[in-house]
């Protein structure tokens, strides 16, 4: 199943839906998705690079490269590849105003 975003769901499609918010917009994902999978099911990137013009969408998916850190509306930053998405999560592709 081709999604609106980067990923293609090849298997495990019969899972409950989970709603979350990305940059203030309501999005849906499947229970058991990581934040990375959930974000890339409706978008093509997780964040922009601090050091160049390009977007970033993760790289190693095993917690080693640290490319996939994203922000929450409140609370700590998350490593998207190793954090499960949960109902009602508020995620951001850019730092919140309060970010130092």
């Amino acid at each position: 199943m081709i999604t609106a975003g980067r990923i293609v769901r090849l298997a495990e499609r019969d899972r409950a839906e989970v709603q979350f918010f990305l940059d203030g917009e309501k999005r849906s994902a499947l229970a058991g998705d990581t934040v990375l999978t959930a974000m890339l099911a409706s978008g093509h990137a997780l964040r922009s690079s601090e050091f160049g013009p390009e977007l970033r969408a993760g790289f190693c998916l095993m917690g080693a490269c640290q490319d996939c850190w994203v922000w929450q509306e409140e609370g700590p930053r998350l490593r998207a590849c190793s954090t499960p998405v949960t109902e009602g999560m508020w995620l951001r592709t850019t730092p919140p105003e309060s970010w130092p």
Partner: protein
């Protein structure tokens, strides 16, 4: 049920090596503590999907399904019976004087040990290709994890590049799962791959299985390619530009590129704990030194791909051996190891064969264009690395200070070997003469708040 034994033994990593080490210690009546970054034991190779996923072990692990199931069942049983303490979703970020600093959901916790078994595994060995900083470029391991643990392909049209067993395996797995794999591009030529044959003959069935997977790729597979550039627009990858073995330029449209040249041992903790490193010509990387059993000295034992890149079967054996060494050193009667040592020698011969057949692309790295990114964390270019080498001479850590290469958030895991290769080329020496980046704590980024305590 038992409590952590005295002396206290801590195992880092719960892949095949960590699981076998733990089981061996439990069988001797000890109670180890196992610290693991995963949510459930299995490591990367035998990684398990989240609850509620329905694919069978055969679908997930193919020919290795029985091994995976055995390891999972064994570890789950030992955890349930409380024969060991399993601390999941936790990263060891520092080691100092017999104490591990462990970052988990509740912040940083200090865990002391008398004996330490490091089974930290490996990740993809990455060589930079111009354009690899763009969204949609992943490691081969990432492509496999996405499929195994999430049931997804990371793009609609996939190109895989690099060399090594994972290149063929991931290609075949994605294809079987229904992904659109446009091309699988191997920088190792057929002739070069033949040089690995004597070693590969040590495990004929595994070698044949690899060839069968290769056959499934059909005309998508190309050996001896030259990789030119990953083309991208503002939203990410759009094509792979490459030359085939005959020198013809080809452009393959795609929105995802998976890359990797075999594996790189994860050695940061071995470095922090003071292991001696030596450059290994076979594996073309720096590796911590141990005796045949995995003893690294000072009560530290290494097992699995974090010490020698022998693969999952070898990791199970090495895990067992490291635990036996630990038991012997503690004065316990230990089981005989001759059969395991013999098996390991055979697996090592095979692994050397793989290393010969699918080498690190030294020439590609040495001649990469000046504008190509070497450090993906901070977009440091080949030109900046070359300039650093001219200014600071051919020494890895001086280069690190001058150019910041290796100081980004991945801490050199994905740029180290390429940076060292570039410096070697610039200074006219072999990459072993450049040295290696010193490991620094914390080995994973940790928020300052994690170190604060409310008391």
């Amino acid at each position: 049920m038992s409590r952590p034994s005295s002396p206290k033994i801590v195992i880092v990593g719960a892949g095949p090596a960590g699981i076998r080490a733990a089981a061996t210690l439990v069988a001797a009546g000890l109670h180890p503590v196992v610290i693991d970054e995963g949510h459930r034991a299995g490591g990367q190779i035998y990684r398990r999907p989240p609850d509620g996923f329905v694919r069978t072990p055969e679908q997930l692990y193919g020919s290795e399904a029985v091994k995976a199931q055995e390891l999972h069942a064994l570890f789950d049983r030992l955890t349930e019976e409380r024969q060991l303490t399993y601390q999941a979703h936790s990263s060891v970020i520092a080691v100092h004087q017999g104490r591990l600093h462990v970052l988990g959901e509740g912040g940083v916790q200090v865990i002391s040990y008398d004996r330490l078994v490091l089974a930290t595994g490996a990740s993809d060995r990455i060589a930079p290709v111009p354009g690899w900083q763009n969204a949609g470029v992943y490691s081969l391991g990432a492509a496999q994890i996405a499929l195994k643990a999430q049931g997804v392909a990371l793009g609609r049209r996939v190109v895989l590049i690099g060399s090594g067993p994972l290149l063929t395996l991931v290609g075949a797995q994605l294809l079987k799962a229904g992904a659109d794999v446009a091309a699988v591009l191997d920088t190792s030529s057929w002739r070069r791959q033949m040089r690995g044959f004597p070693g590969l003959a040590a495990r004929p069935i595994v070698a044949l299985r690899g060839l069968a997977l290769r056959a499934r790729l059909g005309g998508r597979y190309h050996a001896g390619v030259t990789l030119e550039r990953i083309e991208a627009n503002a939203s990410g990858v759009i094509a792979m530009r490459w030359r085939d073995a005959g020198g013809w330029q080809r452009i393959t449209p795609c929105d995802m590129v998976g890359m990797g040249w075999h594996l790189r041992a994860e050695t940061h903790l071995a470095d922090l704990v003071g292991c001696v490193f030596a450059y290994d010509e076979q594996w073309q990387q720096w590796l911590p030194q141990t005796d045949a059993m995995g003893r690294a000295g000072n009560g530290v034992y290494l097992a699995g791909d974090g010490a020698r890149l022998i693969g999952a079967d070898g990791a199970e054996i090495a895990g067992r051996l490291a635990a036996v060494a630990c038991l012997k050193d503690l004065g316990h009667a230990a089981s005989p190891v001759q059969a395991d040592l013999r098996k390991l020698t055979r697996l090592k011969r095979f692994a050397y064969g793989l290393a010969r057949a699918f080498p690190w692309p030294a020439e590609m790295v040495r001649t990469m264009p000046d504008d190509a990114i070497v450090c993906r964390c901070e977009n440091i270019t080949a030109a900046a690395v070359r300039e650093g080498a001219d200014f600071g001479g051919g020494e890895a850590n001086r280069l690190k200070s001058l150019s910041r290469v290796g100081m980004g958030r991945c801490q050199g895991r994905y740029c180290h070997l390429a940076a060292v290769e570039l410096v070697a080329a610039q200074s006219g020496c072999a990459s072993r003469d450049v040295g290696r980046f010193r490991g620094q704590a914390p080995v994973r980024p940790a928020p300052v708040g994690a170190f604060l305590r409310e008391d």
